[in-house]
């Protein structure tokens, strides 16, 4: 396997630590800890960068300027100020709330959102947890995200939260199915559930977006629905149910929801990059993880673009669309992939 | 732009077999009617194919210190004219039948008149205050309305008060 910049760095670090301590377990452990720290860093940085990006993109779409006073002429410190402020706000626990569930909800939401980052191949060989059922595990973990929403909605003792909780359950469960089915075609072609294999299968410029355009569209729509962003942001549809399950949360607890939302947004973008846009593959003049970053940020921009252009759908429309259009189409896609593969004699 | 009102002669024809209807000789002659015959008159005005006063333009009440007049302005697109109907009520105990059975759209306006002027409309589906709080005393638009403003509620979880108390 060719050695990329990131995996080379990891190898070198491992060697150095081994030379220093002489214990292979310790070097593995140290490397894992470094990796986890890096990922958590990436996630929280992503939240900060994307809030800034979101505000600038929104301003650009709405013929405005956007933040430009706090921290230089581009307002670069604006998200830092926001985060610091949220950290130091008062933490209010509503009187009628189910306190245990209420406190657990934001933490539990953040865990699966962060955990899935372990499986992403940021570069050739640069995967924190290289498992051969990566895709399977990925969706098993991210599927857990439904529960904390319902917990938060239920525990808040607020009707808006409760309605938001109901909505999120029905919506996320409905779109999990088409999301997975849209990827089945790719899994059939590559014959592997390891994410790096899927990326490698796209080398030579034949990205799966060209082989599976229908799947890409289904995936993108389902992913937007899974991350609860416009046009599917019913969960926290501001004008309808205030802030959905998060209505009663303040300060840092709310910031955790916020963090998880942007972590999920980046997850969706990274998944699209990995499955359809060739992951870290790209011309040689830039290292792989830079290509990966560029593609992911581009996908994030596309999803933000949706948000500031489209209105919100209604709760029955979203479910009808999910079950009656997305799911049959994704199954059709699997079927077509199978037929073509048979015809070409690949099976 | 002057609006056309039904003239006294035209009104006299409507009067027909209503006993309590009286018509003032004015530029815009209003029909005065007693509460008993009020609903049949409104029914006639709305449904008579020669009149068709289907649009209730304005419903209000005026406090004349001895009586309270409830005023109805009806408009007929067919005739292109208004007719003014007035019902005098006793000031101490103002009560007239509700017109909602003829004009369902009068519901909110009757509630408003009840709220601000204190005229009770019998037969109204939901006779409650609409603008003022439920526990409000008195009817503000009456001429003898006197009111002492209560102390407004005060915020208790006020920012910075604890530190002040400490200091």
């Amino acid at each position: 396997m060719e050695i990329s910049f990131l995996s080379g760095l990891a190898l070198w670090l491992r060697g150095e630590i081994y030379a220093l301590t002489g214990l292979p377990i310790l070097s593995d452990l140290a490397l894992d800890i470094i990796g986890i720290a890096l990922l958590l860093g990436i996630i929280s940085m992503a939240a900060i960068v994307f809030t800034y990006g979101e505000r600038k993109v929104c301003a650009f779409m709405q013929v405005r300027i956007g933040p430009n006073r706090v921290g230089g002429r581009f307002g670069l410190l604006q998200p830092v100020a926001d985060m610091l402020k949220l950290m130091s706000k008062e933490d209010i626990v509503p009187e009628g709330a189910d306190k245990v569930l209420w406190a657990l909800s934001p933490a539990l939401l953040f865990v699966p959102a962060a955990l899935v980052y372990a499986f992403f191949p940021f570069d050739a060989g640069a995967v924190l947890a290289d498992v051969n059922v990566g895709v399977f595990l990925l969706f098993a973990i991210s599927g857990q995200a439904v529960l904390p929403f319902l917990m938060g909605g239920y525990a808040s003792n607020n009707k808006y939260s409760m309605v938001g909780g109901f909505r999120v359950v029905s919506q996320m469960i409905s779109y999990e199915a088409p999301l997975l089915f849209s990827l089945l075609g790719i899994l059939m072609i590559t014959g592997s559930m390891r994410l790096e294999d899927i990326v490698e299968a796209q080398s030579g410029g034949l990205w799966f977006i060209f082989l599976q355009p229908l799947a890409f569209v289904i995936f993108l729509i389902s992913a937007v629905a899974e991350t609860n962003r416009t046009p599917f942001d019913l969960v926290e549809g501001e004008s309808e149910i205030i802030a959905g399950p998060f209505t009663e949360y303040s300060g840092m607890r709310w910031a955790l929801f916020f963090l998880a939302e942007y972590a999920n947004l980046l997850t969706a973008a990274i998944l699209a990059t990995t499955f359809f846009l060739g992951g870290y593959l790209g011309p040689d003049f830039l290292p792989g993880f830079v290509w990966f970053g560029i593609k992911a940020v581009l996908m994030v921009f596309v999803i933000m673009w949706f948000r500031w252009t489209f209105p919100r759908t209604r709760v029955d429309q979203i479910l009808t669309f999910g079950w009656k259009a997305m799911l049959p189409l994704s199954i059709l896609n699997v079927f077509l992939t199978g037929v073509v593969m048979c015809a070409l004699g690949l099976v | 732009m002057k609006q056309r009102y039904l003239t006294a002669e035209e009104l006299a024809r409507i009067k027909g077999n209503f006993y309590t209807v009286s018509i003032d000789e004015e530029e815009k002659p209003p029909i005065y009617v007693s509460p008993e015959e009020f609903i049949p008159l409104m029914q006639l005005l709305k449904t008579n194919p020669r009149l068709l006063f289907t649009h209730l333009s304005c419903l209000t009440a005026v406090d004349w210190k001895d009586t309270i007049d409830v005023v109805y302005y009806l408009f007929s697109e067919y005739l292109g004219a208004y007719v003014v109907v007035k019902v005098k009520t006793i000031r101490n105990h103002p009560e007239i039948p509700s017109v909602t059975s003829v004009f369902p759209g009068a519901e909110f306006e009757e509630r408003e008149v009840y709220d601000l002027m204190g005229v009770k409309f019998t037969g109204h589906p939901d006779m409650r205050r609409i603008l003022m709080p439920e526990d409000f005393k008195g009817h503000p638009l009456r001429k003898d309305f006197k009111y002492e403003k209560p102390a407004p509620p005060k915020a208790t979880r006020v920012s910075g008060e604890e530190e002040e108390a400490d200091a």
Partner: protein, 365 residues
């Protein structure tokens, strides 16, 4: 045992989509609305009572604060009522200026109506676009009277200041913008599949229901009844102007939206004609400093932006009105809310609020 229960959801008085301080008590079965009961009065300031202790000239600024986004139309209505009561002839030039201002304000108000509808459906960019274009109208108002809101420009007997050349220039520039921004909204909203699906067939009402509920304005016209007081009464100089009354068909949110869009184009047409026909001359009639209208009463109505705006004034021959009653179109139209929300989902209720377009200052008075 399977058992379902309805529950009550209080929307407002502080809710992002209730446009001010409207409170709606929704009885819900899951997400479906069984009953919607508006609770009014959170902005009841007692304007009718206050007017009894003010002179006629002092009453005028209060009308600004009734329906605060179409102040010009309110000024117009009140000034017309007092003029009819006191028998004041308004100079012709002033009439044209009044019509221009009223129609500009109508566009302004419809822009906010459409913008908030878009915002409530989650398309906040649409609202930002509407507010951007609204600023050009405010520039014109700023030029003629120096205010952005609560203008107090149309006075009893005429208007406060002349329609300057600069104002004419701004108005002409704005008229050129109108078709441009209307087609822009068509691209952003009207042609958007999600937007149309959210409002077509939602909160429909028949013409009979609307007439029974005394509804007026765009809400009535959307059901297919072509009743517009500007045509019907032909007050001021509207009788000499050529314009159409856009009507809808099904009375749903889509028709209300379309009626508003088309009315903006019609208003632009009216302004164009007024600019061409406006004569030179006085802008203010001779009005006594102490205005004492003769004893009597008057009910004068105009087509406000939300429907029939009527002023009922009783004079007892003094400088202050004995009784003022304002027939507020938003207030009467609010009766339709229950009908419009019944059987819909929570998400539709917000579009019903914004398509009925109530301004709480007017509803609560």
């Amino acid at each position: 045992m399977k058992r379902t229960e309805t529950y009550l959801l209080n929307m407002g008085p502080q809710h992002p989509s209730t446009h001010g301080v409207l409170q709606v008590k929704l009885t819900l079965d899951g997400e479906r609305i069984l009953k919607a009961e508006p609770v009014l009065g959170y902005l009841h300031r007692g304007i009718e009572k206050l007017m009894e202790s003010r002179t006629y000239f002092q009453c005028l600024p209060y009308t600004d604060r009734l329906d605060y986004i179409s102040s010009m139309n309110n000024n117009f209505g009140f000034a017309m009522a007092v003029e009819e009561l006191a028998g004041i002839e308004v100079p012709r030039r002033a009439e044209f200026i009044r019509v221009i201002m009223a129609e500009l304000n109508r566009i302004n108000s419809h822009l906010i109506g459409i913008g908030t509808l878009a915002n409530d459906l989650g398309a906040s960019t649409g609202m930002l676009y509407c507010f951007r274009d609204r600023e050009y109208i405010l520039d014109i108002f700023n030029e003629v009277c120096g205010a952005r809101q609560t203008f107090h420009y149309i006075r009893i007997g005429g208007v406060a200041g002349d329609f300057t050349d600069k104002a004419r220039e701004l108005t002409e520039a704005f008229l050129e913008r109108v078709p441009k921004f209307l087609s822009e909204y068509d691209q952003l909203l009207t042609g958007n599949e999600i937007f149309t699906r959210r409002i077509i067939g939602i909160s429909a009402m028949t013409a009979k229901e609307a007439l029974d509920l005394n509804m007026t304005g765009p809400n009535l016209r959307a059901t297919g009844v072509a009743r517009d007081l500007r045509k019907l009464d032909g007050y001021s100089v509207y009788g000499e102007l050529d314009f159409d009354i856009p009507v809808g068909e099904h009375g749903d949110n889509w028709d209300r939206y379309q009626v508003k869009m088309k009315e903006m184009a019609e208003s632009a047409k009216i302004i164009r004609q007024c600019l061409d026909k406006m004569p030179e001359g006085l802008i203010m009639a001779k009005v006594p400093k102490m205005l004492k209208p003769p004893k009597g009463e008057v009910y004068s109505r105009t087509e406000g932006t939300r429907g029939e705006l009527g002023f009922y004034i009783v004079s007892d021959g003094t400088t202050k009105p004995y009784r003022v009653h304002i027939r507020r179109p938003s207030f009467v139209n609010m009766q339709g809310l229950d009908l419009m929300c019944r059987g819909m989902l929570i998400g539709d209720s917000v579009s019903a609020y914004s398509s009925i377009d109530p301004i709480m200052g007017e509803v609560d008075c």
